[in-house]
């Protein structure tokens, strides 16, 4: 096949595939920087996708839908925060429970919403906005400069998050909480509050990533629409070394493989494209082996913080 002719399609699929992962991964960066490994992204995305879809359909305003989806995401993530921060429950187990509970709630809501009125099955989609001039650049123009507003916002978020962690007092405090909460506490930083704030931000962004799926990617909600993107976002954070720029690169990479699959599938009906789909996961493992555990992110990541322990 002619790779060059397929390239614009691949790149377009890449950016479309990258955005939801990017949003969720940025949320997870906040969470893990504050020492909370949240594997419940998958569930939070599902809630964001469904509520965004349903409210967008009901109100006819997709932005209201997006905001509602994000609020719902925060609500679900507060459950995670309460269990892990206040009750000091195991983070992975709690995240897993969210992954089982949240999609169930979404499916239940969907059944009620669409079951009562099948006209509700298809929603509207955000329009793409082509940036004049830039969108005509060969190969990358259509992929990067002809997108929905939400996608632009996601990409703009990357430098903002980077700036936040580098130049905001709160950004510094966030990092200290994930690295050494006891030292942070001695310097007057409220560790518990920091962790809750991280969960709120994580819920907002992750749910926005989920809402992107139903508001920009495809106009319908189906059970399992997230399709493991939450876990990929988790891998993206590791692969991107817990930084906003790294996460951007990693999610584009994962999106690229996604796009490659789409293109290849179109070219060869029966080609073993699944091996391409494996690549991101194998990549993550290899990257981990390469970097080793020494530089494996915030040091207090995943550990409960008992204030009583001094």
């Amino acid at each position: 096949m002619d790779f060059m002719t397929a390239l614009p399609t691949i790149l377009k699929a890449m950016t479309m595939g990258a955005v939801p992962i990017l949003l969720a991964a940025l949320g997870e960066v906040f969470s893990e920087r504050a020492g909370l490994v949240n594997i419940g992204l998958e569930g939070v995305m599902a809630i964001g996708a469904f509520v965004g879809f349903a409210v967008g359909k009901m109100t006819g305003n997709l932005w209201v839908g997006l905001l509602a989806g994000m609020a719902a995401g925060v609500l679900v993530n507060m459950l995670y925060a309460f269990c892990t921060v206040t009750l000091c429950a195991d983070q992975v187990v709690t995240g897993m429970a969210i992954n089982i509970l949240a999609p169930a709630i979404a499916l239940f809501g969907y059944n009620l919403f669409v079951g009562s009125n099948s006209a509700n099955a298809t929603g509207a989609q955000m329009p793409s906005i082509a940036i004049p001039g830039l969108s005509d650049i060969p190969f990358i123009g259509n992929a990067f400069f002809n997108q929905t507003l939400l996608a632009y916002l996601a990409f703009i978020l990357v430098p903002l998050v980077r700036y936040f962690f580098k130049h905001f007092r709160a950004g510094l405090s966030f990092r200290s909480v994930g690295e050494n909460p006891h030292a942070a506490e001695t310097l007057g930083i409220n560790v518990v509050r920091m962790k809750y704030v991280a969960c709120i931000v994580c819920g907002l962004l992750t749910a926005a990533g989920g809402a992107f799926l139903t508001l920009c990617y495809t106009p319908i909600y189906t059970d399992g629409i997230v399709m493991g993107r939450g876990f990929i976002a988790l891998a993206t954070v590791i692969f991107g070394r817990w930084t906003a720029l790294g996460v951007l690169g990693a999610s584009l990479l994962f999106g690229f493989f996604d796009g490659l699959n789409v293109a290849l599938q179109a070219q060869f009906q029966a080609a073993p494209v699944m091996f391409f789909k494996m690549i991101p996961y194998i990549f993550t493992i290899i990257a981990l082996i390469f970097f080793g555990s020494k530089h494996a992110g915030p040091k207090a990541n995943g550990q409960p913080y008992f204030r009583e322990q001094r």
Binding site: G171, L172, S173, S176, E179, N180, G188, P298
Partner: protein, 503 residues
């Protein structure tokens, strides 16, 4: 000179135990005031009172002549008191500057004012000759520079009184010189320093006055110019006499366990061993004396097979050099081990007392069929009951978890398990740390009985009294090296206490 701090008749009681009793301490501006005392003399308690972690039971604190109530660490900072902990409170992944300004609230803007803060920090650096690479990550800095970051954190928050808790313990000799230069320039600017150290030579060099604590009470405050190392050592140790509770063995000759020129990470003063040679005879207790953190942990790890020494020989009970360093191999060769940390290394806290008692023997015919294929629960239970009787382990049932026991009873469980294996070599590390008198007595008796039964015992302890009481011979460990070997029957206490302080 003007007075910076005065602590008057401070007492701190925990239950019925006085960690501090009527302690008085004053620090003048521009003074280095050393707090000297053995482990457990009450230095940390006094400092925790000063930085607001503990509230004193009695007594008053004055800063700049005004009485203050230091109700929290935050108040201490506001009063200009800053402490550099022995274990640094730093964030490795952040730069020096980020660590210094972290959590500081002098600016109202939510943005970091790195440029302004950098200027302020650099000014302090210049004034006191504190060299810090502000843009290097703390995790990549030398220990000396990390310590300077800690000192800077305190200075940046405007401290007038600095508490340095054993600051030289982790430093190389060159870095110690650097630290002393900084301390001098700090005092030249009128800051006061409370310096905590065990090392006589350093104390004599840097301090103006020394306050000696013993058993929670002030012994005396002396000017360094008017005293000698010997006098300080005497004040610190106090009137020691060897309790002649146990008969001392002087004629043990059969070599059971020998270390020859053993080194393990000798470049680390605090966690290494340098050319250590020692011999433990059958039927003898060899005591290792020394201040905590002078190589006790690596020594214990080498003689229990947890780590392999970088160089040197270890010769086991059968006279052959040991090639495989693993706890399994050492246990098979006849090692009994009372480890340093009961909960972390000795017991599986969530298992029952009975399970902990048979920990090493579940494959034996006594406790299982077919080498571990079916555990005889009844047998294990009655065995545990027997050991509980014999060792006076106080518990409701041998089926309760080991974690739920008191420290003394936990230690009895470990002792019972190890001694039932009839070891040839018993390694006891801090065996009575934190135990009450009754449990301590019991454990001492058991260790001596084991010696009398022909076991070679290596006792490693930071409790000097304990070493004197039990040991037939004594070696002193200082900064990973053996300072000397002394008889335990009539120990030259002064000489030993100076050796422990590095003299």
């Amino acid at each position: 000179m003007t007075e910076l701090l005065r602590m008057e008749n401070i007492s701190k009681r925990f239950g019925s135990f006085y960690a501090n009793k009527n302690v008085t301490l004053d620090v003048q501006e521009g003074e280095v005031h050393t707090l000297l005392g053995e482990n457990g003399a009450g230095k940390s308690t006094l400092m925790n009172v000063l930085i607001g972690l503990y509230q004193p039971t009695e007594g008053k604190i004055f800063m700049h002549g005004k009485e203050v109530s230091i109700s929290s660490p935050r108040v201490a900072v506001e009063q200009g008191i800053g402490m550099v902990h022995q274990h640094f409170m730093l964030i490795d992944d952040m730069t020096g500057l980020e660590n210094i300004i972290l959590g500081d609230k002098r600016h109202s803007s939510p943005l970091l004012q790195e440029d302004a803060d950098r200027k302020a920090v650099e000014e302090i650096m210049d004034r006191y000759g504190l060299e810090i690479d502000l843009d290097e990550k703390v995790g990549e800095m030398s220990i000396g520079m990390q310590q300077r970051v800690e000192i800077m954190k305190v200075l940046f928050r405007g401290a007038d009184l600095l508490i340095l808790d054993e600051p030289t313990a982790v430093l190389t000799d060159l870095e110690v010189e650097g630290l002393f230069d900084i301390m001098r320039s700090l005092t030249a600017e009128g800051k006061g320093i409370v310096f905590i150290s065990h090392k006589m030579r350093e104390v004599m060099r840097i301090s103006d006055r020394v306050t000696v604590l013993r058993r929670g009470e002030t012994v005396e405050t002396v000017r360094v110019a008017d005293t000698t190392e010997q006098e300080l050592a005497d004040l610190m140790i106090g009137q020691k006499f060897v309790e002649n509770t146990y008969k001392k063995v002087t004629d043990a000759t059969k070599e059971e366990f020998v270390l020859k020129d053993v080194s393990f990470h000798p470049e680390i003063k605090h966690g290494g061993l340098k050319d250590v040679s020692l011999t433990i005879h059958k039927g003898e207790i060899l005591g290792v004396a020394g201040i905590d953190g002078n190589g006790q942990t690596p020594l214990a790890e080498v003689v229990t097979g947890l780590v392999k020494p970088d160089s040197g020989k270890v010769i086991g009970p059968d006279g052959a050099e040991i090639a495989i360093f693993s706890p399994e191999a050492f246990i098979d060769a006849g090692l009994g081990n009372i480890p340093e940390d009961r909960n972390k290394m000795g017991l599986v806290g969530d298992m029952t007392i009975a399970e902990n008692l048979v920990l090493k023997q579940t494959e034996s015919d006594q406790f299982s069929l077919g080498h571990g294929k079916w555990l005889k629960m009844g047998e294990i239970h009655s065995y545990a009951e027997r050991l509980r009787e014999e060792n006076d382990i106080r518990c409701t049932s041998v089926d309760q978890t080991a974690r739920s026991l008191s420290g003394g009873n936990q230690q009895k469980v470990i002792l019972a398990r190890e001694l039932e294996g009839h070891p040839k070599l018993l390694v006891a590390v801090y065996p009575t740390r934190g135990l009450d008198i009754g449990a301590t007595e019991f454990i001492h008796n058991q260790i001596v009985a084991q010696r009398d039964a022909g076991c070679a015992v290596l006792l490693i302890s930071a409790d000097f009294d304990e070493v004197l009481k039990l040991s037939d011979r004594i070696v002193v460990l200082f900064e990973g090296q053996i300072m000397g070997t002394y008889s335990g029957a009539n120990p030259p206490i002064k000489e030993i206490s100076l050796a422990m302080a590095g003299k």
